[in-house]
Symmetry: D3
Subunit: 127 residues, 6 copies
């Protein structure tokens, strides 16, 4: 882990932007780990910042999708961090419960579809 | 595939409920395949109907989460069918594009977090 | 694909053993593809032959487990080939239907367990 | 975690049914976590109870398939809980060892099949 | 698919850079699909260009790692495109065969490690 | 865990070969766990020894590919053990950083390719 105090100027610049963008005063371990590789730190933060900004989808929806994928992939760190992020963005207990229900069901039917070797309906195919 | 015309009464009852709930006049292949096993057909449809109903999350958000998980799992049938369902529920081109960007990014950072063996921050742990 | 007629002696020896062991007169594409790399062909067939032989688990159970994993991983080739193999080993329509139901449910609860960050019960931990 | 003593009547009813069905006097953490969302608790338990009941496949086979999928998905909680459940249903050391060997091999050949881009044999295609 | 002839200037700029960097005169479908979302096209190409450039690892090693991950994830498009890219970068038949052998074995032992609930050795833990 | 002191002769023979091959004086937990099933121990070690030997790919490249797959699969034990193995084989900090960047990017574009339902280019198809 690279702490702010021991970081060089290019890492500090990213840490500063993370804190400013997220309106927080601390950096979570993910970024401290990536700080061992400044190009990956810069590129990853730049991509996350661009992708998670408000757009056609609001930040809460984006955070819930991020959490849904992380739960589906069973990444413990990502589940913990994006549960916190989604909570901060406004995810209620009821929203979390429904989100997990959809994630679980999608994982179930994904395997039923593949196991039954279901052919894609003509109506679903891209034109 | 079990077509409506050849289905027994318990399968027809599920097919009728699918068409009524979705306000459509056709059944997609997934359900025709599950119709080979009426208990699984009934249970799966019952679960999907309950989970995808409007609640703390709106149907469009739920469909996009379903698509996000299916794209992450790389299930071709599920991607095709839930892209269609999300479109029907109101997903625009811009929403689809942002959704895929989040799915891609989540899959990337999930592996960076695991590969760098990032420890979960104390603040993220459930109390 | 390496066909029998064009295969060298070490590949033919494996092909012969596959046909003898499985009491069949043809080789499926998987082995014809691996034949491009004789060491992998020999090692993979040797492992499959050892693992799938009757033991504490009978061949039908083993084939159903193989299919369950392949369906969970969504490998189209493996689903098709191991559905055929399990059918040949005695899997009925009802067994297939129950197998898929378990695979689907396991994939659902795997994500609920991770998404809810459920801690392993003390009773479940290895001593 | 929702403990029995603090649970409402609908959660207690599910907990009671779990204990009666499994002939045990305790509830594992998975269900206590789902108890935060009673509809998901009820639906998930109802599905598990239906799917895992004896049928064309016996309970031991079903538990081993559940464990096989959980090991393949690398879900630590699910591996721990379903190893215990399969042991309780009669899985011996030798059965466990063969089960893991099949799971490992299936994961290996799934990737060889995809990596070599093996085409599905005509004989394996559903009619 | 957005073809070059119908693309706007920002998409064309990316297409031109792809062709120049790869010293080729055509664009594969992946980029034509992303062209529906210019920000994702630009960001993804920018990241790929940076990551795949020669560095501590040579381009052939990077392409083989990309193929290894794609085969492990069973992404048909990615397997096809990165097999072609690795071939172009110098991957021989023997290298491909050994690469697939490692990918298969890693997928097998990944599941054996999780299924046997192997505890991480003290010597392997990060300090 | 089966320790050397308590192991039978066939397990000891494998342990001895692991230590001789790797030029080390200890056995990591993975092999001690597999020692509960001597046939799987022998087969798995035999396969790993054959696959990881120098060939068309050098040992460092093979270890990095093993790590890449393990990180992509998010197997904590395998990430820890193969990071150590790759370090021992010569992986520098810079190589690790680039390796993880490729793994992350491959996981991202794998999902973009599937989510956008990109059709495989004719040029990429095997002849």
């Amino acid at each position: 882990m690279i702490e702010y105090a021991e970081a060089g100027p290019e890492v500090r610049a990213v840490f500063d932007d993370i804190m400013a963008t997220r309106q927080t005063d601390w950096i979570n371990n993910f970024w401290k780990a990536l700080a061992h590789d400044p190009p990956t730190l810069q590129r990853t933060w730049g991509s996350v910042k661009q992708i998670m900004a408000p757009g056609a989808l609001d930040p809460l929806t984006k955070e819930m999708v991020y959490l849904a994928v992380s739960a589906s992939n069973q990444c413990p760190y990502c589940i913990a961090s994006h549960t916190a992020a989604a909570r901060k963005a406004g995810m209620s207990d009821a929203m979390f419960a429904e989100l997990m229900a959809v994630v679980g069901m999608a994982n179930e039917t994904n395997r039923l579809a593949s196991g039954y070797q279901v052919e894609i309906d003509g109506r679903f195919r891209p034109i």
